[in-house]
C-alpha cells in the first residue's frame, strides 16, 4: 500500500479548516459551557456575507473576507443579545436546545435570502499547478496560510493579552475568575466576537475549498465536534491538534475505505475518543 502524498495534502487543507472552526467552537464552549449547534450556521453566514460582497457586489475577495469575518463577529454578538443572554443561568442542555432553534432560524434565513442552491466565490479559475506530484490550488495554499496566521494570533491572544488570560481563567473556573475581579459578562462579549469571527473565517475557507451552500456549516459540524471533543472540549490547542488529526485521517482513509465513507472516520474518532480519553488528547478538557 503506497500512500499518495496527494491525500496527505488534501488532509492538511481539510485539517486547517476543521482546526480553525473547532478552535472557535471550543473557545465559546470554554466560557459559555454549552455546545452551540448554531455554530455551523454561523460559518455559513460568514461565507454568505463574503459571497455577497465578493460575487454579488463585485469587490475583491480580501474585502469580502474582512466583511464576512467582521459581519459574523457582529452577528454572533447580536444573536447573544437577542437570544442566548436570556438563558445565561440555564443548564447546558437547555442552551443546546435553544441553539437548535437559533440554527433553524439562521439556516432558513440564508435559504430565504440567497436560495437553497450552491454558489461559488468569484475567483479566477486556473489549472492547478503541481509540485512533487501533488496538485494544489492557490485557494488551498491561502487556506493553510490563513489558518496558521489565525492559530498564531489566537495563541498570542490567549497567552499574552489580559483578555486572553482572563478567558483561560474563566474557562477553568468562572466563579473564581469573577471573585478575582474579572468582568465575566464582558468576557462573554469578547468570546462571541472572537468565536464569531473565527466561525466566519472557517466558513469562508470551506466555501473557497468547495462550495457555498446553506447547510455547508451544519454538515461540517460533525468533524468539528469530533475535533473539539477529541482535543478535550474547551482546550484550544487540543481542538487544533484534533482538527488536523481528523482532517488528515479522513482524507488518508480513502486508501482503505470507500471515499463515500470517509466521514465515518470522524464518527469513529469521536466515539473512540470519548470512550478512551474523555478528557481529550492532552487531558485538559474543561469538564
Amino acid at each position: 500500500m503506497v500512500l499518495d502524498p496527494q491525500f496527505v495534502w488534501n488532509g492538511i487543507v481539510v485539517g486547517s479548516i476543521i482546526s480553525v472552526s473547532a478552535l472557535g467552537l471550543t473557545l465559546i464552549f470554554g466560557i459559555l459551557n454549552f455546545i452551540n449547534i448554531a455554530y455551523g450556521d454561523y460559518m455559513a453566514t460568514g461565507a454568505y456575507i463574503a459571497f455577497a460582497v465578493n460575487a454579488q457586489m463585485g469587490l475583491p475577495l480580501v474585502v469580502a473576507i474582512a466583511a464576512g469575518v467582521g459581519g459574523m463577529a457582529a452577528g454572533a454578538v447580536l444573536v447573544d443579545k437577542v437570544v442566548f443572554e436570556h438563558f445565561r443561568t440555564s443548564s447546558p442542555v437547555t442552551l443546546l436546545i435553544v441553539s437548535i432553534g437559533v440554527a433553524f432560524f439562521i439556516r432558513n434565513l440564508i435559504r430565504a435570502v440567497w436560495g437553497p442552491s450552491g454558489n461559488f466565490y468569484d475567483v479566477p479559475i486556473e489549472a492547478n499547478p503541481s509540485l512533487f506530484g501533488v496538485r494544489y490550488s492557490v485557494e488551498q495554499v491561502s487556506i493553510i496560510i490563513a489558518s496558521l496566521l489565525l492559530l498564531a494570533a489566537v495563541y498570542v491572544l490567549l497567552r499574552r493579552t489580559r483578555i486572553g488570560i482572563a478567558m483561560r481563567a474563566a474557562s477553568d473556573d468562572r466563579t473564581l475568575t469573577r471573585i478575582r475581579g474579572v468582568d465575566t459578562e464582558r468576557l462573554v462579549l469578547y468570546v462571541w466576537i472572537a468565536g464569531g469571527a473565527i466561525a466566519g473565517l472557517g466558513g469562508i475557507m470551506l466555501g473557497l475549498d468547495a462550495q457555498i451552500r446553506p447547510n455547508m456549516g451544519f454538515t461540517t459540524l460533525i468533524p468539528i465536534f469530533a475535533a473539539t471533543i477529541l482535543g478535550g472540549i474547551g482546550d484550544p490547542k487540543g481542538a487544533v491538534a484534533g482538527g488536523f488529526a481528523i482532517g488528515i485521517l479522513q482524507e488518508v482513509s480513502v486508501v482503505v475505505i470507500p471515499s463515500e465513507y470517509k466521514f465515518a472516520v470522524a464518527l469513529a474518532a469521536l466515539i473512540i475518543g470519548l470512550l478512551l480519553r474523555p478528557d481529550g488528547l492532552f487531558g485538559e478538557a474543561t469538564r
Binding site: 443548564s91 432558513n108 430565504a112 465536534f225 463515500e260
Partner: protein, 319 residues
C-alpha cells in the same frame, strides 16, 4: 370534498409525527437522554419496510437494487419496528454512558452515518434515487369500500397512535417508568438503589427507537416512494421542537406538540402564491419553528402540557 381530503393528509402526517414524538418523549421526557438520531430510526423503519414488501425492481437508471422480498405489509411494519429498535440498541451501547451533550453529538453523528449508508448502498436501497412502488396495506380491499383510502389510513395511523399512547402512558407510570424518571432526575441515586442504570437507558433507547421505526414504516407505506433526503437531521430537530413545545415528560403533550408543528408547517401551504415572499415561504415557516422553540424555552420551559414541577426533564441537576 377537496378541503377534507387535504385535512386527512395533514392528519396522517400529524399521526406519523405524533408517533415520532412519543418515541422521543420516552428518551428525553422520561429518561433525560439526548437522542439526536431520531431521523435514523425513522429511516430504518421506512427502508426496512419498503425493502421487505417490494419485489426486486429493475427501475434504477444509475443503480440497481438487487434485494426485495415482496412480503406482506404487516411483516414489513413489524420488521421495521424491530430493526429500528435494534439500531437504537446498538447506538446506545456505544454511547449511553456518556454525559448529556456528548450523547447528543454521538447520536447525531451516528444518524448521519446511517443516512450515508442508505445513500450509498444502492444494491439495497436504490441509493440517492427514490425507492418506489411501496405497497399500501389492504389497498385493493379498501377501494371496494365506500370510504377513501386516506380516511382508512388516517384511522389506521391514529388507531396506532392511540394504542401506543396508552401503552407508553401506562409504562411511564408503572415501575419501569419510575426507574426511568429516577435516572432522569439523578442517575447516581438510581444506581445507589441497585438499579442497573445503563440497562434501563438501553431499554428506553431501544423502545423509543422502535416507535420511531413504526412511524417510518407507516410513512413509507403511505407515501409510496422514499429517498434519503427525507431523513435529514432537521427532522430530528422538528420532533425535538414538538416534544419541547408539548411539554417534555407528557405523552399527551408530545402528540399535541407534533400536531401543532405539522399544522404550522402545512397550513401555510394554503396561502396563495401571490402574496409577497411566496417563494420564501417554506424557509420562513422553518424560521418560525426556530423562533417557537426559543420562545417556548424562555416563557414556558415546561411546555404546553408539561409538569412545571418537574420542569425540564433531566436538566434539574447542575445549575
Amino acid at each position: 370534498m377537496a378541503l377534507l381530503d387535504l385535512l386527512l393528509v395533514v392528519g396522517i402526517i400529524a399521526g406519523v409525527y405524533s408517533l415520532l414524538a412519543i418515541g422521543m418523549n420516552i428518551h428525553w421526557g422520561d429518561t433525560g437522554l439526548l437522542n439526536f438520531a431520531h431521523a435514523a430510526f425513522f429511516a430504518v423503519g421506512a427502508y426496512t419496510s419498503a425493502i421487505l414488501t417490494t419485489p426486486v425492481l429493475e427501475t434504477g437508471l444509475l443503480a440497481e437494487r438487487v434485494v426485495g422480498f415482496d412480503l406482506p405489509v404487516v411483516a414489513g411494519i413489524a420488521a421495521g419496528t424491530v430493526l429500528a429498535a435494534g439500531l437504537g440498541f446498538v447506538i446506545a451501547t456505544t454511547s449511553v454512558r456518556l454525559e448529556g451533550d456528548y450523547l447528543a453529538m454521538v447520536t447525531l453523528s451516528s444518524a448521519e452515518l446511517v443516512r450515508l449508508v442508505i445513500h450509498n448502498e444502492a444494491w439495497l436501497t436504490t441509493g440517492a434515487q427514490t425507492l418506489k412502488n411501496i405497497p399500501r396495506p389492504l389497498e385493493s380491499t379498501v377501494t371496494t369500500l365506500p370510504v377513501s383510502y386516506d380516511l382508512f389510513y388516517f384511522l389506521l395511523v391514529w388507531g396506532l397512535v392511540a394504542v401506543t399512547y396508552l401503552l407508553f402512558e401506562r409504562m411511564s407510570s408503572g415501575p419501569f417508568g419510575r426507574v426511568l424518571h429516577a435516572i432522569r432526575e439523578n442517575d447516581d441515586v438510581a444506581l445507589a438503589l441497585g438499579k442497573d442504570v445503563s440497562r434501563f437507558k438501553l431499554k428506553s433507547f431501544a423502545i423509543g427507537a422502535g416507535v420511531a421505526g413504526l412511524a417510518g414504516s407507516l410513512w413509507a407505506h403511505y407515501v409510496y416512494a422514499i429517498s434519503p433526503v427525507m431523513f435529514l437531521p432537521s427532522l430530528t430537530f422538528l420532533i425535538w421542537t414538538a416534544v419541547i413545545l408539548g411539554g417534555a415528560g407528557s405523552y399527551a403533550g408530545a402528540i399535541l406538540g407534533a400536531v401543532v408543528i405539522v399544522v404550522l408547517r402545512q397550513v401555510t401551504r394554503f396561502i396563495p402564491g401571490s402574496v409577497p415572499f411566496a417563494d420564501q415561504l417554506p424557509y420562513i415557516r422553518l424560521m418560525f419553528v426556530g423562533v417557537v422553540l426559543v420562545v417556548v424555552l424562555y416563557y414556558r420551559p415546561e411546555g404546553l402540557l408539561g409538569n412545571a414541577q418537574r420542569l425540564q426533564a433531566g436538566t434539574s441537576e447542575g445549575e
